[in-house]
Amino acid sequence: MNKILKIADKEFTSRLFTGTGKFSASEVMKEALLASESELITVALKRVDVQNNEDDILTHLQHAHINLLPNTSGVRTAKEAIFAAELSREALGTNWVKLEIHPDPRYLLPDPIETLKAAEALVKLGFVVMPYIHADPVLCKRLEDVGVQCVMPLGAPIGSNKGLKTQDFLDIIIEQSNVPVIVDAGIGAPSHAAYAMELGADAVLVNTAIAVSKDPVAMAKAFKLAVEAGRMAFEAKLAPIKNKAEASSPLTSFLN
């Protein structure tokens, strides 16, 4: 049994967080997300009708172990992000927010300046802020300073399935962070997810790789297993990588 992950006041058995975009049908989405055993599922505010009790996405996510994580995808500034967060707190009854500010509509790369501004304001307003950011170790520390409850650095451009292209920076972030580190974006295969966990990430967020797979339910299970395996390996302490065999005639044996 892996260690429980705690973020703010919530505890998570599963370290696989998921998303709701790109599925072929809401039923498929529900089945896949249940198969993933994910307990934190992000949903884009722009995609749901928060005024509508029968919104298709939201009704399919009503399940005892699922916590909704509204995200601010689509906003371009800190001001819009704060508005979106307040809208979601009021309508969805959660003070958790995945802060996504990507003014660039092509690669959806996060704006570090607006994100830091919004994070500071949202923490003051009582939100549990989960910021989606570049794998920038300094920005992570700045965000920690303003009180975010975790950081969500990207592994590669969102939706790219390219894996952990930012590994060198993720290593530094994981080493330095006092809040959970969740690798978000770019994870395209269960092996990427397992690897992120082995590196010591506290959780991963996966959406496209599950939603766009030919069999989203099976892929969701594969990710679940990979994340568990990777975490287990991390907790069990991986043996160090050695480039060469130990020399048979040590240079310091004369000291004995």
Partner: protein, 373 residues
């Protein structure tokens, strides 16, 4: 700041067309093997040399579209607000010289049409007018946007080109996107098809996306009207325009539409034919050039074409569109701008999409900027 016209003027139509027709099989193969394509690759993919590679292009286009957009299609509905127009456009049913009854919807009529579209499930709307400054100028459009804003997450307009300040005013009032098609990038042909009215000013129209970018609109829709001139050259210039705009206005989203000339009252025969195969080739070429561009497909195209194109690269479609003001409920019998080809109901289209494993996205926007008001 420089604008697109400066760049555009360094190109020559005939040379561009010649260079497209000179593309070779090897250049097509190279373009297909690349991950990031440039405009020379795009030329190869729209060239006759790429025809034997159409299936390969379609497979790649489908895969890239699914990766980016998932198994989804967005739906929107056009709503014509007015057919009054002071332009002469040789191909358009609303052209000033066409003797048709003119109508501009009142607030009450707009709301009646809106109620019809809301009942169908639409949340993204495209407002269309002709070009008649006195009746359907900025204040009319602003009023229409304000009137319907609470009912639609996403409001797009396709109206006469406006000045930057006018766009800024409309954006403040809830405008999300603007579609403005150049019709043709062939300067002389453009003049022939637009002999009179404000639209006859080629440069003002060509400069419109720049004004929109400066005004900070969320999305700009580009396109050429296929049939007026060679579709390959017009598409190259559309792509050139797109690439320029993406670099200059990096916060703006873009979409491409592919209107082919349709029959209308007082009609014009296409000068250059564009076959179904050509259109598929072009759509795939745009997807290969740009993974994230929205590609829109209207009811101008027929059932079979639309049933298939939703798997090939298109990301948003309309259904049961009416191209006459009041066409849904107020005055269904009035003359249309053009005849649509796919007349299936919204329900039928949704069923068709679901049957193909595609989730319909009705809502993909929120007025997050509302706090500014």
């Amino acid at each position: 700041m420089a604008n697109f016209i400066t760049l555009f003027d360094t190109y020559n139509w005939d040379n561009t067309l010649e260079s497209i027709f000179n593309k070779t099989t090897v250049e097509v193969e190279n373009a297909l093997a690349k991950e990031k394509l440039d405009l020379e690759d795009f030329k190869a993919l729209i060239s006759p040399a790429a025809k034997p590679f159409l299936e390969q292009m379609a497979q790649k286009s489908s895969m890239l579209t699914k990766k980016r957009f998932g198994n989804t299609i967005q739906m929107y509905a056009p709503m014509y607000l007015s057919n009054e127009c002071q332009n002469i456009c040789t191909y358009c049913g609303f052209s000033m010289t066409n003797k048709i009854p003119r109508r501009t919807l009142t607030d009450a009529e707009i709301l009646k049409e809106v109620a019809f579209l809301k009942a169908k499930g639409y949340d993204h709307i495209l407002l269309v007018t002709g070009e008649a400054n006195k009746t359907v100028g900025v204040s009319y459009i602003k009023n229409a946007i304000k009137l319907i804003r609470s009912q639609f997450s996403n409001i797009t307009i396709e109206v006469q080109p406006l000045d930057q300040e006018e766009y800024e005013l409309l954006i403040e009032n809830g405008l999300y996107a603007v579609l403005v098609y150049q019709e043709t990038y062939h300067r002389e042909e453009y003049k022939k098809h637009h002999p009179k009215g404000k639209k006859s000013n080629f440069n003002y129209r060509l400069d419109t996306p720049d004004r929109l970018g400066k005004a900070g609109v969320h999305k700009i829709g580009l396109g050429a009207l296929f049939g007026l001139e060679d579709w390959r050259a017009d598409s190259f210039f559309t792509a050139l325009h797109l690439k320029y705009l993406q670099k200059t206005y990096w916060k703006t989203k873009f979409s491409i539409s592919f209107p082919r000339l349709r029959p209308h009252s007082g009609g014009l025969e296409p000068k250059v034919e564009m076959t179904d195969s050509d259109l598929v080739q072009l759509i795939c070429a745009f997807r290969l050039l740009d993974e994230d561009i929205e590609l829109s497909m209207s009811t101008r195209e027929n059932e079979i074409f639309r049933n298939n194109i939703v798997q090939l690269g298109a990301t948003s479609i309309s259904a049961e569109s009416k191209t006459n003001p009041g066409g849904y409920t107020v005055e269904p019998q009035s003359l249309e701008q053009f005849e649509i080809s796919d007349e299936r109901s919204t329900e039928e289209i949704v069923k068709m999409l679901k049957g193909q494993g595609l989730e319909v996205i009705w809502k993909d926007w929120e007025h997050f900027e509302a706090i500014e008001k």
